[in-house]
C-alpha cells in the first residue's frame, strides 16, 4: 500500500501575474484592454483629469466623436483634452461629464493654520459661459 504525500493541494494558488498571462494568450480583446489601461495609468501620472475622461469614455463604449457631439463641442477638442494637452473650462467639463453620466462638484477648502478648515461644496451652475 503506498502512502501518498501531500494529498491536500496547497492553499497557495496561481499568481495573478501568471493567470493574467494566460488570459492575454487567450483573448485579443483582453490584450488590447490591458494596453489601454496601461496608457491610462501613464496619463494619470501627468494629467488625472484627462485620464479620468479617457477611461470613463472607454468603459462606456463611446467614441470621442460621440462625446463631442453630445457635449456640443468639437472632436479635436476632446482629443486634445484626452491627450492631456488642454484643460476645458468648467462649463465644458460639466457638459462632458454629463455625457459620461457624472457631475462636477467643486470643493473649496479654507487655507490657514490652526482651526479645522471649513469646506464648502459649490454646485456648478448651468449658466456659466463656455
Amino acid at each position: 500500500m503506498s502512502v501518498r504525500e501531500n494529498t491536500e493541494a496547497s492553499p497557495i494558488g496561481r499568481s495573478a501575474t501568471e493567470v493574467a498571462g494566460e488570459r492575454a494568450e487567450r483573448s485579443e480583446e483582453y490584450r488590447n484592454a490591458r494596453k489601454e489601461y496601461a496608457a491610462i495609468r501613464e496619463l494619470r501620472e501627468r494629467n488625472p483629469l484627462a485620464a479620468h475622461i479617457r477611461e470613463r469614455r472607454y468603459e462606456l463604449g463611446l467614441t470621442q466623436q460621440q462625446v463631442a457631439e453630445q457635449a456640443g463641442t468639437a472632436h479635436s477638442f476632446i482629443a486634445r483634452i484626452e491627450k492631456g494637452n488642454h484643460y476645458p473650462t468648467i462649463a465644458v467639463l460639466k457638459r462632458i461629464l454629463a455625457v459620461l453620466d457624472e457631475e462636477i462638484i467643486i470643493t473649496v477648502v479654507e487655507r490657514g493654520e490652526g482651526a479645522e478648515a471649513e469646506r464648502s461644496d459649490i454646485a456648478v451652475p448651468e449658466l456659466v459661459a463656455a
Binding site: 493541494a9 496547497s10 492553499p11 497557495i12 496561481r14 493574467a20 488570459r23 480583446e29 490591458r34
Partner: protein
C-alpha cells in the same frame, strides 16, 4: 528584498474562487481592469510599504482588506489579506449595496482561516530523512 505578490487562494478541492469569478465576467475589459488594479496596487510592494490608500483599497475587518474597482457602472470588490509577501485573493463580488455584505466578509475570513490552517499543517510535516537517517533503499 522580496516584494509582494498577489496569488489566488486555492480551496481544498483545488479551485481558485476569485479566478473563477473574474473569468466568469462577460466583458474582457472589466477582467483587464481588475487585473490592472491587482498589478498596480497589490503586486511589487516593499515589505514595509503601507497598503494602497483609499479609494483603491480599504480595510474591511482586522487584516482583511478590499481592492476597489469600478468598471463603467459596475463596482467590484476583491477581498484579500496579506500573509508575509503574499497578497492572498480570497473572495470577489459585484457590489450593489452601500455596505459590503456581511456574508462576503464571512466568506473571505473563512477562506483565510483555511489558508492559515493548511499552511501550518504543511509546515508541521517533518523533513524527509536523508543521509544515514534515510530508510534503506531496498525497502
Amino acid at each position: 528584498m522580496s516584494r509582494t505578490q498577489a496569488v489566488y487562494y486555492r480551496d481544498p478541492d483545488g479551485r481558485e474562487p476569485v479566478a473563477v469569478f473574474i473569468d466568469g465576467l462577460s466583458d474582457e475589459r472589466a477582467i483587464a481592469k481588475i487585473d490592472d488594479a491587482i498589478e498596480e496596487h497589490l503586486n511589487g510592494k516593499k515589505p514595509d510599504e503601507p497598503p494602497a490608500p483609499d479609494p483603491y483599497t480599504s480595510q474591511v475587518a482586522g487584516e482583511l482588506r478590499e481592492l476597489r474597482v469600478r468598471f463603467a457602472r459596475t463596482r467590484y470588490r476583491v477581498l484579500y489579506q496579506r500573509s508575509g509577501n503574499l497578497m492572498v485573493l480570497l473572495h470577489a463580488i459585484e457590489k450593489n449595496t452601500q455596505q459590503l455584505p456581511q456574508e462576503a466578509t464571512d466568506k473571505a475570513q473563512e477562506r483565510m482561516a483555511d489558508f492559515k490552517a493548511r499552511m501550518n499543517a504543511a509546515r508541521r510535516k517533518p523533513p524527509r530523512a536523508v543521509g544515514k537517517d534515510a530508510p534503506p533503499k531496498s525497502r
